[in-house]
């Protein structure tokens, strides 16, 4: 199977997870006074879930554009971290990589990078992955905004659990392989929980940034995994 097709296949769970969330976004946007074209346009140009929900919410409260843009910027600074990690492994030139970077979301990033044995990430693979996820996001927004009157607003209640289940499904195989990875992931989860309790006014973007910086640094300082627990050290075995 070629890399593009593998990417598309890996993107299907993301697209399915995005769909109900994007439909909800479309419905809420129209309720907030946006036209369906604007709602769909925002998904086409911005492609950032949390930021879009917050933007529509702030729009409704007549918050000035510049403040909404600033909030969006802060919320998406975490992608600096993810893009840096991805850039080390993406095998394509600067121009292609920069264009593909539009497709970086929390979900496409973790799906592309979670498998440590896949050190090199092909541009066509990431393109397939991002395009599939993007299609789910844009299509969902289109459906939600143009058909907002016929879809019950609470149809998607509980369906966001799909994305969390996908995160768990991605994480568990790596945790089974390495105690350091388990430690880093659990520490990061606990830390972001404590942060959200202590500083509820902190945006989710900052919580992810701070928890990630702390957990990766602590994990980095941990002793290396012993050889006998991981006998397979040659590539591709």
């Amino acid at each position: 199977m070629n890399q593009f097709k593998i990417g598309v296949k890996s993107g299907i769970p993301i697209a399915l997870g995005y769909l109900p969330i994007a439909i909800t976004f479309g419905i809420l946007s129209v309720q907030a006074g946006l036209t369906p074209a604007l709602a769909t346009g925002m998904s086409i140009w911005v492609f950032a879930g949390a930021s879009q929900f917050i933007a529509v919410n702030l729009l409704q409260s007549h918050v000035p554009f510049i403040e909404i843009i600033l909030t969006t910027f802060i919320l998406n600074l975490r992608h600096l971290l993810m893009s840096t990690a991805l850039s080390r492994r993406l095998t394509s030139n600067t121009l292609i990589s920069s264009l593909l970077a539009f497709g970086i979301t929390d979900e496409t990033f973790v799906v592309a990078t979670v498998d440590e044995e896949q050190q090199q990430i092909k541009a066509s693979y990431f393109f397939g992955l991002a395009l599939t996820s993007y299609s789910g996001w844009v299509l969902g927004t289109f459906l939600g905004s143009y058909f907002s009157t016929v879809i019950p607003a609470n149809f998607a209640v509980g369906m966001s659990v799909a994305l969390y289940a996908m995160f768990i499904g991605l994480l568990i195989p790596s945790m089974k392989k390495s105690w350091q990875i388990s430690f880093i992931a659990i520490l990061s989860g606990i830390f972001s929980w404590v942060l959200s309790l202590l500083l509820p006014q902190l945006s989710s973007g900052w919580t992810i940034i701070i928890a990630t910086l702390v957990a990766t640094t602590v994990g980095f300082l941990l002793p290396e995994q012993k050889e006998e627990t991981n006998p397979c050290t040659t590539p591709g075995c």
């Binding site: 992608h79 893009s83 840096t84 850039s87 969390y164 990061s188 929980w193 990766t216």
Partner: protein
């Protein structure tokens, strides 16, 4: 309303820049330690995404998300099909929601 497009354009710029900037320095060699540190980022991001967010997966009760999450952990532990993990936790969520325990 037409100037909402301006807002969308502004949002496009500020979401694209953090995504794209690191790609401009992708050919600069980092020390090995830094690369090792970067390789841990996906797992830390996953941890922070799952928790505490999963507790808000259902607006009525945090326990719905937690139970659906435990089902996902069990399914992921014993097999590798991602879609099965997702389907299992969705079904769990629907059952909990319908019974409204």
């Amino acid at each position: 309303m037409h100037n909402t497009w301006l807002l969308i354009f502004g949002m496009f710029i500020v979401t694209f820049i953090p995504r794209m900037l690191p790609m401009l320095i992708k050919n600069i060699r980092f020390p090995n330690g830094l690369n090792k540190w970067l390789s841990y980022i996906p797992y830390a991001v996953l941890g922070a995404l799952i928790f505490p967010g999963i507790m808000g997966a259902h607006p009525e009760s945090a326990s719905y998300g937690i139970i659906a999450g435990i089902v996902a952990i069990l399914l992921a532990w014993f097999q590798k099909q991602l879609l099965l993990v997702v389907a299992g936790s969705l079904v769990t969520m629907f059952i909990l929601q319908t019974l409204s325990i």
